[in-house]
């Protein structure tokens, strides 16, 4: 693989939000004492009159955001995913999703890649929590470039959006002209033996896995499922129909996230072989992101191994 530029998704989020705030005065940003981590600090610096810190009070922040939305603003609310989707879940349910309030939940530090902070801070259930709510759109960008597009897409959607952003500095994988249409998955690579449907940081891992499989003569189709809700049913069924085997890969619990969404789509509609790579029914722990990905099987090598097994048992 060629050398790729490295860029942080959260910095991309913060800078894009600040830029968007310059063009659209309806945008306000909120944080719960983590603006230097979620990168809403860029917005705060450029638009101090439209930035609000709520202190460490996520529930109040989410409700206040609903209040802003009711007054015609487009609030972007940021904190760590584990606190935003977890602690403020019922506020999101009743004050945002239930009323279809135009609130953007841009939560960062999702998944295991928070690393050393450990299991208390590693959100592995946030997609499940947000995906189950009516009216909610769920976007999971795979790199900084896609994050920028997701920020713009979220602002353009009239209704609640969960934007799942991760912490590490990652290779920029997609191009500025790669389309990003919410609800429409991107096929990054074609192949007829197995479909690798991935989201977030597992997209580059799936691409690397496809390379490994190609060396063994196994053709892998790679699908970037950047929108978890509404899920691209057609892309899933097409991949299943073409390959006869589907493997999902996500930095999230195998319950309730991408794997579940794809399984829900395939059930009763496809006879394709199916398996999930993700975090099994367990919490995370401290470690470097790389060590954690290795320990929990979130690697190209494991994706390739699982795909190989699927193809073998077709």
């Amino acid at each position: 693989m060629s050398e790729r530029a490295m860029e942080s998704l959260r910095v991309a989020y913060g800078k894009e939000l600040a830029a968007l705030g310059g063009a659209d005065k309806r945008i306000v940003a909120m944080d719960a004492d983590l603006s230097g981590s979620t990168m809403t600090c860029y917005f705060a610096k450029e638009h101090p009159e439209r930035f609000f810190d709520f202190g460490i009070a996520e529930a109040n922040m989410v409700c206040a955001a609903a209040g802003f939305a009711h007054e015609g603003f487009i609030p972007f609310v940021s904190t760590f995913a584990v606190f935003g989707t977890g602690r403020a879940f019922e506020q999101i349910r009743n004050s945002v999703a239930y009323v279809n309030a135009n609130v953007k939940l841009a939560f960062t530090h999702a998944g295991l890649c928070v690393g050393e902070d450990g299991g208390s801070h590693q959100s592995i259930e946030d997609i499940a929590l947000m995906r189950v709510l009516p009216n909610m759109t769920v976007l999971v960008p795979c790199d900084a470039e896609e994050t920028r597009k997701a920020v713009r897409a979220a602002a353009a959607i009239d209704g609640p959006v969960y934007l799942r952003i991760t912490r590490p500095v990652c290779p920029v994988f997609t191009a500025p002209d790669t389309p990003f249409i919410p609800g429409k998955a991107n096929v990054l690579r074609d192949g007829g033996d197995v479909a690798l449907i991935a989201t977030g940081l597992m997209v580059p891992e799936a691409m690397a896995a496809a390379e490994l499989l190609a060396d063994e003569g196994i053709g892998a189709r790679v699908v970037n499922m950047h929108t978890l809700k509404p899920i691209d049913r057609d892309a899933i069924l097409e991949a299943a129909g073409r390959c006869g085997a589907v493997l999902t890969a996500e930095e999230h619990s195998v319950f309730g996230g991408l794997g579940s969404a794809v399984a829900e789509t395939l059930a009763g509609a496809s006879a394709a072989r199916f398996a999930k790579v993700g975090i099994q029914d367990q919490f995370g722990q401290s470690g470097t992101p790389e060590a954690l990905f290795e320990a929990y099987g979130l690697t190209a090598a494991n994706i390739a191994a699982q795909a190989r097994e699927l193809v073998r048992t077709k």
């Binding site: 306000v28 202190g55 009070a57 206040a64 802003f68 015609g72 603003f73 009743n94 004050s95």
Partner: protein, 275 residues
Amino acid sequence: MESANQSLAEKSRLLRADIIRMLYLAKSGHPGGSLSCLEMLMALYYREMKVDPANPHWEQRDRFVLSKGHACPAQYAILADLGYFPREELWRLRRLGAMLQGHPDMRKTPGVDVNSGSLGQGVAIAGGMAMAAKVKGEDHRVFAVIGDGESQEGLVWEAAMSAAHYKLDNLTVLLDHNGLQIDGSNDQVMSLGDVMKKFEAFGFVCTRVADGHDIDAILEALHTPHPGRPLFVCCETVKGYGVSYMEDEAGWHGKAPNRQEYEQAMKELGVSADE
């Protein structure tokens, strides 16, 4: 001197009858808290707030948030009386497809500014609306009515902290202090302590209305100057006020009257039980 608001006393009797009839017909709902906060809502809707029933989304209107959303029959009765929607809707409360939901729904009911019902959230949303008004440079005000049981929610105090921090002098929080909640008295269930002192400590200008069913007294309290700070008005009320057997009875928090109880209530209120 006669109060200009004495005519509202007559209206309050009829609104109470509407509340009782709504709940009787719905066969469920919350009479106790609806009856205790009625005069607070009347003071706001009939005297204090700038609203236009013909234009519920009028941008310059004052906003109202019934944070103790289960008391919505009181709000619905007033909204119908003001002409936000036909009175007939009252008798379909809580039915499938009804405009009037079991808890306030801004997407279904004209005049409802904010969804509430999950306690603590309404007052926090009200804070966001007051902040938004300041960002827009608009001078309308935001009023939120909270319950005393509701004030056990931590979110109420998160909202109080940020309202003071952001100097929301366009926000008024009124407490329906009837002293009772589902499981008994506040003091039995979870004592609020000195709620006035608590709001004062959080940075509100605080005032108490000794008789929360006296509309003149509520209005006087609402006019307490509070430059640079949000206002807290503690209204001492009686749960179930106006229906003898419901008064001060925690058991009437969340149940509807049966036929016999309905007829007695209507008799006490001097309104025919037949419609």
